[in-house]
Symmetry: C2
Subunit: 110 residues, 2 copies
DNA sequence: GACATATTTGCACAAATAAGCAATAGTTTG
DNA sequence: CAAACTATTGCTTATTTGTGCAAATATGTC
């Protein structure tokens, strides 16, 4: 894994790793229909500007999608992308014991 | 999901969501044998004290396990725990469209 | 005990982050 | 155009975070 991909993954995880942003994600989890920012800022009881900034960060990481709808903006979760990234990491972490060859001469006796 | 669990999940993701810490995790990914901090601090070219602090944060989140071995401490990945948490979130994000009932009267027609 | 090795802690500092409020921008309605 | 509503941006502030160096701690060796 190259430096840049690692950085991107770190950025994704960081975006998810803040309480209010994760609250937004969970809120969107439970919504089939895209929600506007006013609705979302209530779920974590912060100022609208704060929600707006958090949603921007989530959008930059492609975690949420934005569609304009009149004077509103409707946010929805990029479910598949998030799930894919998380599963990829899960597999990497879980299943790479075969990479033990990286270890100098490995375990305890070849 | 209650406030505290959400906070804990956010903390876990935050711990993973920093470049050098994620580097440490990836490094440990490729190691079957537990590694000591000296070895690990090389992988992200930081001071030993920095690696120590990062590893402490990872340990607090139960991402890495520590075993004392003489004057060293050997770190290894808590593979199953990480994978579980990530998959749980993935499923939650991906599969909760059935929760649409939360939406007021849902989609577009009953 | 003196010394070497491995790790952690205290301290200082720069940079990043989250937050709220006020002002601004974009859109719909009158 | 004015007014109402939705969302974003500019500004400031307080807090957190990541970092390196030096000192301290812990352990093993001579």
């Amino acid at each position: 894994m190259d430096t840049q991909s690692l950085q991107q993954l770190a950025d994704l995880l960081k975006a998810l790793g803040e309480y209010n942003r994760l609250s937004l994600v969970y809120e969107l989890c439970g919504c089939e229909k895209p929600q506007n920012a006013m609705c979302l800022c209530e779920c974590c009881s912060v100022d609208a500007s704060v929600a707006s900034r958090h949603l921007k960060i989530l959008a930059e990481q492609d975690i949420v999608r934005i569609e304009k709808s009149g004077r509103e903006r409707k946010y929805s979760l990029n479910r598949q992308k998030i799930a894919n990234e998380l599963r990829l990491l899960a597999e990497r972490v879980e299943g790479s014991e075969r990479c033990a060859a990286n270890d100098d001469q490995a375990v305890s006796g070849g």
